[in-house]
């Protein structure tokens, strides 16, 4: 009986240690691959990291989209109706990318320009990225449903 208990105890201990090690490793890898979200105010305020990938979200400022004639380079401004950040991107923008639409971009900050690797716009015309909506709600002059609900 005692050896049986001992065996059971060592099995349980082994299991706990194994799971602990696995979870720690996973968490470590997780923390290296996390992309935090910042709104333009936070980026201008210097809260966003330099040389580390993060996500930025906001509304594309009307009339700010500039395209290099004949090439895929594009620049536009993102706003949370308080501050603006210029985003540069090279490639095809998503179908739902439009001026006045909420988008999220993933990339790095370089000389106060956000160099995007990926630009995301949601596949729903009424949709505002949840994060953008949340950040806009904190800005007083934003009225719910006004800019996002183009339809």
């Amino acid at each position: 009986m005692r050896t049986h208990r001992k065996r059971r105890l060592s099995m349980v201990l082994g299991l706990v240690v194994g799971v602990g090690v696995a979870v720690t490793l996973i968490l470590m890898a997780l923390s290296e691959n996390i992309n935090h979200f910042y709104d333009p105010t936070q980026v201008v305020g210097g809260e966003a990291p330099q040389n580390h990938t993060f996500r930025i979200g906001g509304m594309v400022v009307d009339g700010s989209v500039q395209r290099d004639e004949g090439s895929l380079k594009v620049r536009f401004d993102l706003t949370d109706y308080k501050e603006q950040v210029t985003v540069s991107y090279e490639g095809i923008l998503p179908d739902l990318f439009r001026e006045g639409q909420g988008i999220v971009a993933i990339g790095k900050l370089s000389d106060n320009v956000f160099v995007a690797e990926e630009v995301l716009a949601k596949h729903d015309e009424n949709y505002m990225p949840a994060e953008v909506k949340q950040s806009l709600k904190q800005v007083a002059d934003y009225k719910e449903g006004q800019p996002g609900a183009a339809e």
């Binding site: 395209r67 004949g70 596949h123 339809e151």
Partner: protein, 652 residues
């Protein structure tokens, strides 16, 4: 009128689900034969009422009855008929109705194919399925009734254009068959615990159902991936998007469950573990439903979402997990496995398979849940990058595939090391050779050598397993179907691995600006942008690019499109794809760049079809395993035995 009949049928189905739960469970507990016999007719009637309800909703869509709010917001008179039908499950309410209907159909199937199973067991299984039905039907009637009426508008809002596609018409039913099908092994596990008979028998009864659900889940996920590939215009086949993860986690655990059930049935080992896996597989299905339907996700797929609804599903999830784990805690100490097996045995191999699959599930679960928890705690928004998932999946796949090849060869209980090594050495040599061949063909990459080498390892060793089985047998047909199912499943995994490896490593992608007549060379193919044309579809208008791709001997026309649906201002990309067994050519139209130029995305994707080919082979393996004669014979076995066992079971 007809929508009201649908609504009424839904309420009757709920009533029937109550009857299906209360009488059989109480009858089984206290040994009332009459109550036990209520289970089967109740399950069939519930399925009947839900079919009626579902048919009423289909009718409302086909008849353009816009006085039903759900129809008005998801259909349109101009919508093609096929999509009017698939629009039934295109949004929240209807997809829940489909969920409930499929659950009832699984219950009905159990009621028909359970003649060899003791009545009392079947009664419990159907009772548990009834509880799940009650949860979902209540949820629908209280928060998401698809039959709600509104003052009828003249025209509906149309189905989300992304969903107007054949792949997505069949993806949800397939996926739900898998998701919901996992309720059956769950119900068997709970019923076995309630009855106190956690022996090999319940594992045997549960196996064909698990295989069937797994098969549907496999094909459902594959359909979703295929759809994302050609419809979203991104050329990717898997994004580690939370909604994808939500379907992948139950798949991983269901895969572990299939293997663990084999050990429990054949050797009586891993009993407690198998029960836990059955509970978790279904819980993860529910979690998936919660994640997709509650709106907690930042996801490209969060089509219909509402936080209040999430609270209900989360509560139901907590109830299911909480009560089944409590039952497990009470009954768990009665589960004893006195089975010994040596380190080198099939049991060990399957144990390793289970551990690895569960660890992968844990990795995916943490990556999916962590951002949600982080946000819920008010610590801000974040997302977990693709590299996290890719890294772990790749690292954990290596031992998984290594073990997969070997375990299929091993004998139960104990195997001979020397004989095994003799079989493994040639396999190793062939795998290395295959890796070198890939390197010569595509260029050096350690990942490709490893991936293809492992796939060949699995294929070769599966061949050895077949040879071992044939030894001493006269006829091919004397090998059980279950074995062929396993071999096909494993070959599917190998084919899938080759596809994933080669596509991930050797795909070439380029976004270019092209004017009429200009061309661009990519991976030996010259893509020529001929012209742009305006097109008119039934409920959209758009532009179509005409692109020629040619490598000298072979030439093909590709027609990427950009569509704007009348009912919304939402533009949609339709890619032009030339599919091939060894490569896909993929062209997507971006936006006009001025000067008559267009942004065009070009891809060369080697072996991408093998990804879906592999999953189809896995699915066929699942079907073959379900049709194993053992199960059919079991089903035919006469009621005489069933009756005698049932009286014994009732007293326990």
């Amino acid at each position: 009128m007809i929508p009201e009949i649908g609504h009424f049928a839904l309420i009757l189905a709920l009533g029937m689900a109550f009857i299906q739960t209360v009488f059989p469970l109480a009858g089984a507990q206290f040994g009332y034969q009459g109550w036990i016999h209520v289970a089967k007719p109740a399950a069939r009637l519930q399925a009947f009422f839900l079919t009626l309800s579902f048919a009423a909703l289909v009718w409302a869509f086909l008849a353009d009855d816009f006085s039903v709010r759900y129809v008005a917001s998801n259909s349109n008179t101009k919508l093609p008929t096929l999509y009017k039908v698939s629009a039934v499950w295109g949004a929240h309410e209807g997809s829940l109705l489909l969920w409930a209907l499929i659950l009832a159909i699984w219950g009905m199937m159990v009621s028909f194919f359970s003649r060899s199973i003791p009545q009392v067991m079947t009664a419990r299984v159907l009772g548990i399925l009834g509880i799940v039905s009650i949860g979902f039907l209540l949820f629908m009637l209280l928060t998401s009734n698809p039959f709600d009426r509104i003052p009828a508008p003249l025209e509906g809002r149309d189905l989300n254009p992304l969903l107007q596609d054949f792949g997505l018409a069949v993806h949800p039913p397939m996926l739900y068959m898998g998701y919901v099908g996992l309720a059956v092994p769950f119900a068997f596990a709970i019923a076995a615990m309630l009855g106190g008979h956690l022996d090999a028998a319940w594992a045997r009864w549960s196996r064909p159902w698990t295989n069937a659900a797994w098969m549907f889940l496999t094909l459902g996920i594959a359909l979703g991936s295929w759809w994302a590939y050609y419809e979203l215009g991104w050329g990717g086949w898997w994004f580690w998007d939370p909604v994808e993860n939500a379907s992948f986690m139950p798949w991983l655990v269901a895969t572990a469950l299939m293997h663990s059930l084999a050990v429990t049935e054949k050797r009586g080992a891993f009993k407690a573990w198998t029960v836990l896996l059955a509970i978790f597989a279904f819980s993860l299905s529910l979690l998936g439903t919660f994640l997709v339907r509650s709106g907690v996700l930042t996801s490209v797929h969060a089509f219909a979402s509402d936080p209040e609804r999430g609270v209900f599903i989360l509560g139901f999830l907590a109830f299911v997990i909480g009560s089944s784990l409590t039952l497990f805690a009470i009954r768990g100490n009665q589960i004893r496995s006195f089975v010994h097996f040596s380190l080198l045995s099939r049991e060990s191999g399957l144990l390793l398979n289970n551990i690895l699959l569960v660890v992968i599930t844990l990795v995916v679960l943490m990556g999916t849940i962590y951002p949600i928890l982080h946000n819920a705690m008010g610590w801000g928004n974040l997302s977990v990058g693709k590299p996290y998932f890719d890294f772990f999946f790749a690292v954990l796949s290596v031992p998984l595939l290594l073990a997969l090849g070997v375990a299929a060869l091993l004998r139960w209980k104990k195997d001979d090391a020397a004989a095994l090594v003799k079989k493994l050495v040639p396999a190793l040599i062939v795998s290395l050779l295959a890796g070198v061949l890939v390197m010569l063909w595509f260029g050096f990459s350690l990942g490709a050598i490893l991936g293809v080498g492992l796939a060949v390892w699995v294929i070769w060793l599966s061949g050895v397993a077949v040879r071992d089985q044939l030894r001493g047998k006269r006829r091919l047909s004397s090998i059980p179907r279950g074995f062929w199912g396993m071999i096909l499943g494993h070959l599917g995994v190998a084919v899938f691995t080759i596809g994933v490896t080669l596509t991930s490593i050797y795909s070439v992608e380029k976004d270019v600006g092209l004017g009429a007549g200009e061309s661009y060379e990519l991976s030996g193919y010259t893509f020529t942008f001929n012209e742009i044309r305006e097109i008119e579809g039934p409920n959209y208008s758009g532009t179509r690019g005409i692109v020629t791709a040619s490598d000298g001997d072979y030439s093909v026309m590709l027609y990427p499109e950009k569509r704007t649906y009348f009912s919304s201002s939402m533009p949609m990309t339709e890619a032009g794809i030339d599919a091939g067994l060894t490569r896909d050519l993929f062209v997507a139209l971006g936006e006009p760049l001025g000067n008559g130029k267009w942004a065009v995305r070009l891809y060369h994707k080697p072996f991408i079809r093998w990804i879906w080919l592999g999953t189809i082979i896995m699915g066929i393996g699942g079907i073959v395993a379900v049709t194993d004669k053992r199960y059919l014979r079991m089903a035919r076995r006469k009621k005489a035995t069933a009756a005698s066992v049932s009286s014994r079971g009732a007293t326990a």
